[in-house]
Amino acid sequence: MKKRKLKYLLAGGIVVAALAGMIYSGVQESMVYFYTPSELVQKKDAVQGKSLRVGGMVVERSIRWDPQTLLLTFQLTDGQGTVFVRHKGTAPDLFKEGAGAVVEGTWTSEGFFRSSNIMAKHSEEYKPPAHPETLESKKELFKSILKEGKP
């Protein structure tokens, strides 16, 4: 009886150990450090090539986007440090100047952050708009392509 119990404990132990090993290596391989722009500026030599997340505010008037090459560049800041970011592709819906954003990617030796993923921060906190908008004012934006009827 004792021997049998030992056998099952051993089998269970192997399963648990395998699981632990998988978790450990999984964590090791996909760990992503989170830095603020000023932390990244300080540690940039040490973290070159590692996958990182950097979170900050998108600097006003820093967004440049070329629709042909789909190259998006902007700066992220936390007030103390500023990082240049290059991203291939388009930004998510909520990404805009003056708003928070987190980028995922690596710090390159050329002195910019190469982003592979942009996560715009969405605030659930409700502030009533200073100038309430109407449907008409939104319509005005697209008057040159406006038409009646359904797509």
């Binding site: 049998r4 056998k7 099952y8 089998a11 269970g12 399963v15 699981l19 998988m22 978790i23 290596s25 999984g26 964590v27 391989e29 996909s30 760990m31 992503v32 450090y33 989170f34 830095y35 997340r53 986007w65 629709p67 042909q68 789909l70 592709g89 388009t90 998510p92 819906d93 909520l94 990404f95 805009k96 995922e104 715009a120 921060k121 969405h122 659930e124 906190e125 409700y126 009533p128 708009p129 309430p132 908008e133 109407t134 449907l135 004012s137 939104k138 319509k139 934006l141 697209f142 040159s144 392509i145 406006l146 038409k147 009646e148 009827g149 359904k150 797509p151």
Partner: protein, 663 residues
């Protein structure tokens, strides 16, 4: 006015709930039938009171009574009535009220179902079941009274409300959250019975038998909610995916994993009287994970798009969670002598051990998801650094575990109990294994090289093979011995052991969904390009031509869309109109994706940027092969569960009617 009234109703409901719980326990202890009857009435009264509270809040929502903060937060005058109604679960306070209402409903159903009918042991368990269910209700009512009051007043009364996030103003919002809540609340019933079994010391298989159907139905709602959420996300959220390992998604996935383990391990206890403690632990874990998930997502402790930030609510959830864990594990320890199982594992090659392994893997996946979800918290607490693990971690760990589970899904239902003989193994598994290996060889010959895809396909074929052979052999044997036609034999087979065959159909659904998940994630093609009107882009066999931009006014927003024509192999296939929706007072637009959905491949288009004069636009085009199989698999699972839980009488009736029609 409505604020005071609503607050009063909730307060009253709290009082009635506490009374119902106390009367049930005291009545059971003192053996007073009249106290128990009074407690049952209080449970029903509690349900009526919470229903009244729901009506009050809905009335305020529908009539746009912005003197309630909650109404101002979740609806506007211009919202469609159905979204005003859905505002009830659009934010924290209302969701808790809805949850509490479902909790009250289930408690009332349990009382109505078992107070004068049901298995004999029910009479002893019921008072404590009520007490536990009322205790859970009391927590939600306390939460609303002190932390998250849906009837909190707002002064000065604003002229118009803020409204739901436009992303939530879709029909899916009417279904997905309800399904999830029904699943969450559903698991509280088996949990309550488990606790009652521990308190009364009636820890045999009785509580499992009573709650079997409740558990399966709760599981169905939770599964449905998860699938529906993925489907919703895929069709409307505009990133082309259905699952992102977001904390909110993980919060619903973790109780699903332990709940699934529970459904399986229950069968071993029923059959072999083993695993008593394990089953109690599993149902406690499932219920605790529901509470934990809500804590995680509603307390704002993890930055997540879905989470609404809030203070005292988090602390109260954590306190309740500790209470639940403390009491249930305390009770398990207290009853440890009575809980000693009778059965023993006879052999490692047996159904018991396949089920045990399945349980280990499911709980293992749950643990890894748990760890990954709270990893940022752990890292910050222990090392003071902000580290997270993203999608790669979850995929890396869950794919091999999922494959192991898939293999076990083929073995478990067919291998013999006790000790599987070589003959049993050969009879049940030889043909499916050979078929699966042959299928794998064909795939290799066709050029499939990814190990994970190959393994997934071979295992899927194996599972399908075992299920098909099981149905075939069963039908044929029955047809032969009973002299029935094949179809009749198949139908009676389904009817005679609905639980078994329903379960196998569920497995079939899971396999279909896994094929969809595996193929769509490995063979996905994605391309992003900017086009001028008249230009085309090539993606796989498809060519997509941009025919210009247009914009139009809709009741609540301005829709800007691109006219696209998709061609396949040079032939016109489908028009596509991906767009963006601009809402007043929302700074960013919302994507409105379009796709050509097809059973074997979706062509999915996102309008990611455009010039306002329509001179150019940027599109992200995705080819998602076999992604529909995930949703089809979900449908098959639903079918299987319905076969498994439909009451015997009703099915017999249906069968009789069908026979009558044939004749």
């Amino acid at each position: 006015m409505i604020s005071t009234l609503g607050g009063f109703v909730l307060f009253l409901a709290l009082g009635v709930t506490l009374y119902a719980a106390a009367a049930a326990v005291l009545g059971a202890r003192a053996g007073r039938e009249d106290w128990l009857a009074s407690s049952r009435n209080a449970v029903l009264a509690h349900f009526c009171l919470v229903t009244l509270a729901i009506f009050l809040l809905e009335y305020a929502l529908i009539t746009s009574d912005f003197s309630l903060r909650y109404v101002a937060n979740t609806s506007t005058r211009g919202s469609l009535t159905r979204y005003k109604i859905a505002g009830l679960w659009g934010s924290l306070e209302g969701s808790i009220l809805l949850w509490e209402w479902l909790q009250a409903l289930f408690a009332a159903l349990v009382v109505a179902r078992y107070s004068d009918r049901g298995p004999s042991g029910c009479r002893h368990l019921l008072p404590y079941v009520q007490a536990v269910l009322q205790g859970i209700s009391a927590f939600f009512l306390l939460l609303m009274t002190f932390g998250a009051n849906p009837f909190a007043p707002l002064f000065p009364v604003p002229p118009d409300g803020r409204g739901l996030n436009p992303l939530l103003e879709v029909t899916d919002m009417l279904i997905h959250p309800l399904l999830l809540y029904l699943g969450y609340v559903g698991f509280s019933v088996p949990f309550a019975f488990a606790m009652a079994a521990l308190v009364t010391g009636r820890v045999s298989e009785e509580w499992l038998t009573i709650t079997r159907r409740w558990t399966v139905v709760a599981w169905l709602f939770l599964t449905g909610g998860i699938f529906y959420g993925g489907w919703w996300s895929y069709r409307t959220l505009g990133w082309g995916g259905y699952w992102a390992w977001d904390p909110v998604e993980n919060a619903s996935f973790m109780p699903w994993l332990t709940g699934t383990a529970f459904i399986h391990s229950v069968m071993i206890q029923e059959r072999k009287r083993m695993l008593r403690v394990w089953n109690l632990v599993l149902i406690t874990l499932t219920f605790s994970l529901v509470i934990f998930g809500t804590f995680l997502t509603r307390s704002g402790i993890l930055g997540s798009v879905h989470a609404f930030a809030d203070g005292p609510v988090g602390v109260m959830f954590l306190a309740f969670l500790s209470l639940v864990l403390f009491f249930s594990f305390g009770l398990v320890a207290y009853r440890s002598d009575a809980l000693k199982g009778h059965g023993e594992l006879d052999s490692i090659v047996s159904r018991e051990s396949a089920f045990l392994l399945n349980n280990l893997v499911l709980v293992g996946i749950c643990f890894t998801v748990f760890l990954g979800t709270i990893f940022p918290l752990l890292a910050e607490a222990i090392r003071g650094t902000k580290i997270s693990v993203g999608t790669p971690y979850f995929n890396r760990v869950s794919v091999p575990l999922g494959l192991a589970l898939l293999l076990l899904m083929g073995i478990g239902p067919l291998i013999a109990w006790g000790r599987a003989s070589l003959n049993n193994l050969r009879r049940n598994f030889l043909k499916p294994s050979l078929a699966a290996l042959a299928g794998g060889a064909i795939l290799v010959a066709l050029g499939v090289r990814q190990a994970e895809i190959l393994a997934a396909f071979v295992f899927c074929l194996f599972v399908i093979g075992t299920i098909v052979f099981e149905f075939l052999v069963g039908t044929r044997t029955r047809a032969k011995t009973m002299g029935e036609g094949l179809l009749t034999a198949f139908a009676t087979l389904l009817l005679k052991s609905r639980r078994r065959y329903g379960g196998l159909i569920v497995h079939l659904g899971v396999v279909v969904a896994i094929v969809g998940i595996a193929v769509s994630s490995v063979y996905k093609v994605e391309r992003e390009q900017t086009l001028k009107p008249g230009e085309s882009m090539q993606v796989g066999p498809y060519s997509v031509r941009f025919d210009g931009m247009a914009a139009g006014e809709r009741p609540t927003h301005i829709l800007v869309w691109a006219n696209l024509m998709a061609f396949k192999d040079g032939k016109p296939l489908h028009t596509l109109t991906p767009g963006q929706r601009y809402y007043p007072n929302q700074q960013s637009p919302f994507a409105s994706v379009d796709a050509r959905y097809h059973w074997n491949e979706d062509l999915y288009v996102i309008l990611s940027a455009f010039e306002r004069d329509g001179s150019s636009a940027t599109f992200k085009v995705l080819i998602n092969p076999m992604i529909s199989w995930i949703w089809i698999g979900g449908g098959v699972i639903l079918l299987g569960v319905i076969v498994a839980v439909l009451p015997e009488r009703r099915l017999a009736l249906l069968a009789m009617r069908a026979k009558a029609q044939v004749a």
